[in-house]
Amino acid sequence: MSTILETRGLTRTFGAVVAAKDLNVRIDHGEIVGVIGSNGAGKTTFINMVTGYLPPSGGDILFDSRSVLGLAPREITRRGMARSFQVAQLFPQLTVIENALISLVAAEGPWPSFLRPLDTPERRAHAEAILEDFGVTPYRDAVTSTVPQGARKLVDIAMALVSNPRMLLLDEPTSGVSVEEKCPLMDTVMAVVRKHGVTVLFVEHDMEIVARYVTRIMAFYSGEIIADGSPRSVLGDAKVQELVIGHHFDLDLLGEPA
């Protein structure tokens, strides 16, 4: 398998605080990687650096073997790496379908499709298909700020996928969502992701959720990766259990290894 994303010695400091320390990550095409770690462990900092929102203090980021260091988020998006957000980043006063339509027009070009009306029948049909995929059709014409949290998170992820990225970074897709909703939400997302064949890296606090969907886990602790490997090996790691999970993790919860 070939590498899609690689970081070399990626480091970021905020004053005296080291939010990311010499991160060497290598992710292959088609992997579904989970990232765990307590608050402030450097997970979001990692995503922010990789997607161009936060300039690293040192190191390099290679996407498809080309450095994306110094590129803006829009340029990295155009190269095929998209992300979702811990707090859904939407256009709150526009309707859900308008959010999708704008994502579509952005992905299309933008020129010359920019000059044609946004809401053409073809584009609308496309947008409706996307909403259908994510199961948010009931909220199609609702103003986004009035839509429940779970649906907002789904719209947020849908918008990231509109550009047909080859890699998707999900920053706590189930945060702010009730416990019962977490699994259905992730099922929906993963179904779409598998359909598109996207490589996924996702940050999650709920260990059971992580273990359920990923093939590999990276554990962050105070800016460093302290364990990286199969869910079973990482979650069974004593150091991870002590520093990240905070208690003994019962591996039986994972079911049979795949």
Binding site: T44, N48, Y53, L54, F85, Q86, V87, Q89
Partner: protein
Amino acid sequence: MTSLLAILFDGAIYASWLFLVAAGLTIIYGVMRVLNMAHGSFYAIGAYSAASLVGWYFSGNVGNPYLSYLLLIGCAVVAGSLIGVIIERGLLRFLQGKDEILMVIVTYALLLILEDVTKLVWGVDPYFAYQPYRLLGQTAVGVGLRFATYDLALIVVTAAIGLAAWFALNRTNRGRLLRAVIHDREIAVAMGVNVNVLFTVTFAIGAVLGALAGALTAPAISVTPGIGVEVIVLAFAVVVVGGLGSIGGAAIGAVLVGLTRSVAVHMAPEMELFVIYGVMFLVLAIRPQGLFGPVLARRI
């Protein structure tokens, strides 16, 4: 040598004036996140009330002429705090937490209202109150270089006000509380700071500073309609150079803008207006948050 001295003194005089008008603006913004367009009106009201009061004082049987300085300061304090409390309690209170840009429009509406109120109260004819200015005569600061003592005194007074503000903010408990609010309003609220009272007091202090700037300037100019407007744009320029919401920043901004303007006035008078805004655009181009403004925090 003389011209260098002249540039320095002119710059210092202008800088102290700038600091006076900018200090109130930056304090109000720092605490309330309201960029108060009506600050210029506070300046104008201070100037008008001072000019009319001093004019009246000298038109009668004058007692001690030096008492007129107390009048200047006294009427600014009264007028400023009065109007500040009225506006904060009567209007801004109901708009707390609104978008910053919406508050600009609201205070712009206030500016329009206060401009007409000023005209209704004082008419459109100019007011003069030159007596306090003349009273102090001139002082020689070098060979063939003389300045109005009033202007030089203004530097001292401004420095005193600046030091007092610094002392109040850094060496008193209430001041530290205020700085906590400027630093992080949400945490301050969570810790039980009474924001309503704090906002009223802050707005009143800002208004008094604005009125004081007007009152202290009144003896040196002819007070006419519209004097307040130029002030707000200038004060904004000074405040963004230093960093919005920072008093120290306002001081540095005032010195920078004051000296640059003074250089321009002496070297290339036609460039005066350009250099003031030129300094602002230059600083913003290099440091968008101003020289002492806090770096914006992560938003996602």
